[in-house]
Symmetry: C2
Subunit: 274 residues, 2 copies
């Protein structure tokens, strides 16, 4: 099953738009795990097992694994998700941005070594930085478009000579000529709902990965009004609020409570669809 079908299925069957982000910060792991071998893997596996039925996807952030020399634990984590929670897609958040032979190596890493279902990528180098991943026609490519950090406006919100904004141009490319296999998606932050609505207008029913709920202050109601579709349309990411709900031995149950409350809050905010 390709990435798009996986997400559509999760939206429908799990009734969830919640993407659980896996950002294992070594300084915030539960105290009883910190000194143990493979602490990162143990932590993430317990989080995954406690939240899988509530999630439309999991999104491990590769920077944490790279910094901790934990690439083997990331491989084991994704293998665990595929085995124990089949059908829940894994989005590898690596924001790769390179071309040609180098991008081919990044594609091998993401899709063969880690067996991710989708990868986040950066559009700055243009279509050449997308093309090598299209050799894996069933995998998702989630392209940075409009991010919710203050500096996001330094480039993304620049007005072009044709009157459009740079992020609108990216949205058009990713949903149009770059979407050769129908597996593309976009990263669009939650803190500017009017821009999220503009992206939705441009891209039809393309899935949007939305960081910035919770810790980053985005508003669920406004996000859903701006970006949801009848089928779902959004993968609303929450990482820290779920992962670090408790630093005690009850961390997995605490994570489940927060994930469940977030998923429910999202469902209650969704508009009825005709």
């Amino acid at each position: 099953m390709n990435f798009r079908s996986q997400i559509d299925t999760r939206w429908r069957e799990a009734q969830s738009l919640l993407c659980v982000g896996l950002d294992p910060d070594p300084n915030r792991l539960p105290m009883h795990l910190r000194q143990q071998p493979e602490a990162v893997l143990r932590f993430c596996v317990e989080i995954v097992d406690a939240t899988a039925d509530l999630a439309c996807a999991f999104k491990p952030q590769i920077a944490y694994f790279h910094a901790a020399r934990a690439e083997d634990q990331l491989e084991a984590l994704i293998a665990h998700i595929h085995t124990r929670h089949p059908g829940v897609p894994v989005i590898l958040d690596a924001k790769r941005g390179d071309i040609g032979a180098t991008a081919e190596q990044y594609a091998r890493e993401a899709f063969e070594r880690y067996r991710a279902d989708a990868l986040t990528v950066n559009p700055y180098m243009g279509f050449d930085s997308i093309a090598p991943y299209l050799a894996y026609p069933d995998r998702g490519l989630i392209v940075l478009c409009r991010t919710s950090n203050p500096g996001g406006s330094d480039l993304q919100n620049l007005e072009l000579a044709n009157g459009r904004r740079l992020y609108e141009h990216v949205a058009e490319l990713v949903a149009g000529p770059w979407n050769l296999h129908g597996q593309n998606a976009l990263v669009v932050g939650a803190t500017f709902p009017e821009e999220l609505a503009r992206v939705r207008q441009i891209v039809g029913d393309l899935p949007l990965l939305v960081p910035g709920i919770g810790a980053q202050g985005g508003d669920i109601d406004a996000t859903l009004r701006a970006g949801a579709t009848c089928a779902g349309g959004l993968m609303i990411n929450s990482s820290r609020a779920i992962l670090y709900a408790s630093d005690g031995e009850d961390f997995a149950e605490a994570a489940r409570r927060v994930a469940s409350a977030t998923r429910t809050a999202i469902q209650l905010s969704r508009q009825a669809c005709a």
Copy 2:
């Protein structure tokens, strides 16, 4: 010694603008190494030892190491360069592009785990994707600006409402308000010399990392006229032409011959400086 001083010193003392790129493609390694353990490390160490006196810098491309599960070999390679060839800076080519806590992890990875002297980064997420690296004030940040691939124009060459091109805007930011420690540099391709000249005009004597010589077809003469300064100004990268000059047991000598010829060709093309 900080990155900028290292490069200035290499330009002067080694009389070289040649950056040797380390892109160890498993399918192109010398035949006698392919089945050996740590083949990637052995290959790169021999290349490094054969070319260090001819190089202003080394640039390992991390994608090859990630795809080959060879992160430990990359650590060992960079440690080898620091020990055996002190003063030759290592540019980790990872084109990282993320913000906040995630970028802090990428900085830990590049500067603590791998002990790189400089890192390539992507500007699409704005200053927030630069700021976390500034916690390491002696390390270089080499920001993507104008790349030489055909798709580079999809975003970088867009005309802005103020008449400037997007890559010119990036050059201004990186050389100006983002250059807090004077350690910034830019990636600018060799295939559009008039744009390289335009970037040089904007950024003063900022170092420019120039891919696209050799395999990618850039012209050395035009590149130097457009971008060199009296001190040097350019880190002209060559990877495949050097690495794969021979796939026999003489690969390191062959690499040295090509590196030496490239360095000499660059020196002969440099204009006399008043």
